[in-house]
């Protein structure tokens, strides 16, 4: 058996003696719990240090932790994508940022910090939205790990990786699978999951685990407020678009002047109805839909996710199968289970989706179904179909001229629109990079 640890002779002399000992023990030693494919060897460390490419999505609370953990575990070729700039309120969790960095892109500051403090690490930042990239970008990574705060973004990422899968004679080619590790936190709760697209449950398979966010009914906000939150929503939803206090700019939860305006209007509204409890902090919380972030929860979840990245990259252990829930409100509680694939998942099952409607149903009903159904939860679906050999847009919201042109279709019945039983509808939405195909089944 080899004696002691070999001195590291890696490029640029970054690695001092024993630097990666804690990692090498898992790469170079056999063990009873390693993955069946695991073969201990000294080359594994080279792979980690020089070849393994990881993509981190998000450079916020989870992202900062992920970058740090990965860099300290031997990963060097890391890309990070984040579309935000740093706000002063981020500083109490997102520890790669300092007061002088406020206003700069998160991805860039995070990359600079890691590259400066952890010798040898080469983090490449992208101050962009995930939707700005296509398959050619994502295909280059061995593993992708997400620290997002948006379900829409998660679903898009999920859909992108599914679109990269290739099948030969109906059999999935394993080399086209890019593992997706996904972490999420809310206050003292968090979860971490491992997704092997095409093989294990994907984000959409378990969409019911993400309940739609609470939106107060409009009639309550407009005429019958009871809670301070109702007053704040009144100012946000009704007064802001009407009074346009800062011109055409949309309400920015990170802009203190905006929040101050909403706060003042909310107090006035609350006074009318003798409602107490409107504070600046609550105003900001409601506008930003903040469930306050806690540094420790982000630390725990990012740790679990980073470890899974390591396990998959090294085969040193069998990865989490496949979902971890964490909650430290009362003591510490974890629950680990295997989320199951949904047979007819709209994202990963390749099974055509069915839409059951009577022919007399209006297109509006179909639209609402696509948005409200718990398994679909689309945000602003665009529906197209083929009629008489030509592509026809039935309804599309995101382009004003098309929205105006197709709006009357919403009140028409499916038969009036020329649709027949078995008709295929193609639906596009922000929740997926690919169009989802639906089959229309007429009910009596």
């Amino acid at each position: 058996m080899a004696d002691a640890e070999l001195p590291m002779a890696v490029d640029g002399g970054y690695d001092w003696d024993g630097r990666w000992n804690h990692v090498r023990k898992f790469l170079e030693r056999p063990g009873p719990f390693a993955h069946p494919d695991f073969e201990p060897c000294t080359e594994s460390l080279q792979f980690l240090l020089e070849m393994c490419k990881i993509l981190v999505i998000g450079a916020g609370g989870l992202g900062c932790e992920l970058l740090k953990n990965l860099a300290l575990s031997g990963f060097r070729l890391i890309h990070v994508v984040d579309m935000d700039t740093i706000d002063i309120s981020n500083l109490n969790r997102q520890f790669l940022f300092r007061p002088k960095d406020v206003g700069r892109p998160k991805a860039e500051v995070a990359a600079d910090f890691i590259n400066n403090r952890i010798p040898g690490c080469k983090v490449v930042p992208h101050y962009k939205k995930i939707q700005d990239f296509d398959e050619s970008f994502y295909r280059q990574f061995h593993i992708i790990v997400c620290g997002l705060d948006s379900i829409i973004a998660r679903r898009w990422m999920n859909g992108m990786l599914i679109s990269l899968l290739s099948y030969e004679d109906g059999v999935l080619d394993p080399s086209s699978i890019i593992p997706l590790i996904d972490g999420g936190t809310e206050g003292f709760k968090g979860n971490s999951r491992v997704i092997l697209p095409g093989m294990t449950a994907c984000i959409d398979c378990t969409l019911e685990l993400y309940p739609p966010q609470i939106n107060f009914p409009m009639c309550t906000i407009a005429s019958m407020p009871r809670l301070p939150e109702h007053c704040i929503e009144y100012a946000r939803i009704l007064l802001w678009p009407k009074e346009k206090p800062f011109g055409e700019t949309s309400l920015d939860g990170d802009n203190p002047e905006h929040i101050q305006w909403v706060f003042k209007k909310s107090i006035e509204r609350a006074a009318e109805f003798h409602i107490t409890g409107v504070t600046y902090r609550l105003t900001q919380g409601v506008v930003k839909r903040i469930i306050p972030a806690v540094a420790s929860t982000n630390a725990v979840i990012a740790a679990a996710c980073s470890l899974e990245v390591f396990k998959i990259a090294s085969s040193a252990y069998i990865p989490l199968n496949n979902y971890l829930v964490f909650n430290d409100v009362d003591g510490l509680y974890t629950y680990t289970f295997e989320a199951e694939r949904k047979e007819n998942c709209s994202a990963c099952s390749q099974v055509p989706q069915n839409l059951q409607f009577p022919p007399s149903a209006k297109l509006q009903e179909v639209l609402e179904y696509l948005m409200e159904n718990a398994s679909l939860q689309m945000k602003s679906p665009a529906i197209t179909t083929t009629l008489e050999g030509k592509n026809k847009t039935l309804y599309l919201q995101s382009v004003k001229s098309i929205e105006e042109r197709t709006k009357p279709n919403l009140c028409k019945t499916l038969t009036e629109l020329g649709l027949s039983d078995g008709q295929e509808l193609a639906v596009a939405d922000v929740t997926t990079p690919q169009t989802v195909l639906f089959k229309l089944n007429f009910t009596t």
Binding site: P30, G31, S89, L91, N92, I290, A303, D330
Partner: protein
């Protein structure tokens, strides 16, 4: 810097954080992670105790202090370049200044010595360890009071089974039959249930619905109250639907939780004296209230859930509960005056008061006091997380015997397996424990080679920091008393040892 943590643990909790002075022993990966997660939300001060040096240059404590200080300019960071063993030898009182002491990667003998000093001084002690892919935390605190436990799913305190006078008065201002359509469909469900309960009681010998059948009948009674249009079709009255949905919880008996009863019956509560902490004085005041103005019930909490109603009806109802809560709080306050203290928000959470008592390390390790039952019952399943605790004990025995940890160098791994197994077995024998410890786990511990992988250190870093915050702020319930994290399977367990 804004601390959104405010919203979760309130201004009061934030104050206690800012006044806290945390001691961290050993600025290892785990130690610095824990401290980072305390510095970011704003603890007032920290002191690192560490006698080790960093790659022959800076002392580890100093390097860590500088890095952590950067994270939050308001925190006061200090370091002591001394081993904890030396401090225990020469100046054990050194530790008395701290709000909590957190130690990582300490050898067993040091933990026990320090544990004894801190136990006598009633200072909370959190012992943490990252050992390969196993994380370990042990909380040692004699008596920890939780003033705000913020239970996730708290039952409402509506008192519909025992309506207080002001509520009954308020109820009288409603006449469901004669209301116009708009008022009828915007009456809060609490009022609806209360009204129909009055009706039920008068028709059922003043006994509320007892079983499923009667509750169904009660629900039907409410359903029949929904207004119908001229064609006899029921109108869309969502408030009535809410009432029907909430019948079960609304009919819950108002009673004092057993955890609180236990506290009322405890010695500290019954023997209030000049040494009593403010927690016990407040608790006694609440107990005295219960036996007088409270009519055997706790002070009213005073909050109601949101529900379909017009603004005025909702706010008026909310005010009825709020006013009653304030009255009860004032009554408790008088008891406290009488007991020589002042009361605050404790009232709102009277049913959420908890006390956490952890066994000392001496009790855990003592041959006569070891918790054999817990160990043997967990080990009925040989893959229980308990096995990692037992092997960690064996690892410490190994260190005592060989002055090193098992498997640090590749050439040691294989031979150390049998040596470690002997150590584990000798610990088991001392305690007269007959449990099956699988060889695979012993082998894996040798493979670990006493490494401290950063991912596991970060997991413990987050977990430990949050528990420390709970201890410092007296909010939310901490674990009791041993937490084991198995990073291989991403599972965990809390054990009482």
């Amino acid at each position: 810097i804004a601390y959104p943590g405010f919203k979760l643990w309130g201004d009061h909790g934030q104050d206690t954080l800012e006044n806290a002075h945390v001691c961290l022993i050993n600025a290892t990966a785990t130690g610095t992670e824990i401290l980072k997660n305390l510095v970011l939300p704003g603890i007032g001060a920290f002191t690192i105790v560490d006698g080790h040096t960093v790659t022959g240059e800076d002392n580890r404590a100093q390097a860590a202090t500088e890095l952590l200080q950067e994270l939050n300019s308001h925190v006061s960071g200090n370091f002591v370049e001394e081993s904890p063993e030396k401090l225990l030898d020469n100046n054990p009182d050194f530790f008395h200044r701290f709000t909590i002491v957190i130690a990582v990667q300490l050898p067993e003998s040091t933990s026990l010595r320090l544990g004894s000093v801190l136990w006598s001084a009633s200072i909370p002690f959190l012992v943490c360890k990252t050992y390969g892919l196993i994380g370990y935390m042990r909380l040692v605190v004699q008596e920890h009071t939780v003033i705000e436990s913020h239970p996730d799913s708290a039952l409402e305190d509506l008192r519909l089974d025992k309506p207080f006078a002001e509520f009954k008065n308020h109820l009288q201002s409603f006449d469901l039959e004669s209301m116009n359509k708009k008022d009828h469909s915007h009456t809060p469900w609490i009022i609806i249930i209360a009204k129909y309960l009055e009706k039920w009681l008068s028709e059922h010998n003043y006994k509320p619905p007892q079983n499923y059948k009667e509750k169904e009948a009660f629900r039907q009674l409410i359903r029949d109250g929904i207004r119908k249009n001229e064609n006899g079709v029921p109108e869309d009255e969502e408030n009535f639907e809410e009432a029907i949905k909430n019948v079960n919880t609304a009919l819950n008996q108002t009673k004092i939780p057993s955890a609180v009863e236990e506290l009322f019956n405890s010695e500290q509560c019954n023997n209030i004296n000049s040494e009593s902490s403010s927690f016990w004085v407040m608790l006694r005041a609440v107990k005295d209230f219960v036996h007088s103005e409270g009519n055997r019930d706790l002070p009213v909490r005073g909050t109601i859930p949101d529900m379909i109603a017009d603004s005025q009806k909702f706010i008026n109802l909310q005010n009825v509960y709020r006013t009653k809560a304030m009255q009860d709080a004032a009554a408790v306050s008088t008891h406290v005056q009488r007991l020589l203290q002042s009361l605050g928000k404790v009232c709102k959470n009277a049913s959420f008061l908890r006390v956490v008592r952890c066994r000392s390390l001496a009790e855990e390790y003592g041959v006569d006091s070891v918790n054999k039952d817990e160990i043997t019952s967990c080990m009925d399943n040989p893959d229980s997380e308990m096995v990692f605790y037992l092997i960690l004990r064996g690892v410490e025995r190994f260190y005592q015997q060989h002055s090193r940890y098992p498997g640090v160098y590749n050439y040691q791994v294989e031979d150390d397996i049998s040596k470690l197994k002997l150590c584990v077995n000798s610990v088991m024998q001392e305690y007269n424990l007959n449990v099956n410890i699988k060889d695979d786990y012993v082998h894996e511990f040798c493979r670990f080679g006493a490494s401290e992988p950063h991912t596991v250190a970060a997991f413990i870093g987050g977990s430990a920091a949050q528990e420390a915050i709970k201890i410092i702020s007296h909010q939310f319930v901490p674990f009791n008393n041993t937490f084991i994290y198995n990073a291989m399977l991403q599972t965990s367990a809390t054990l009482q040892l």
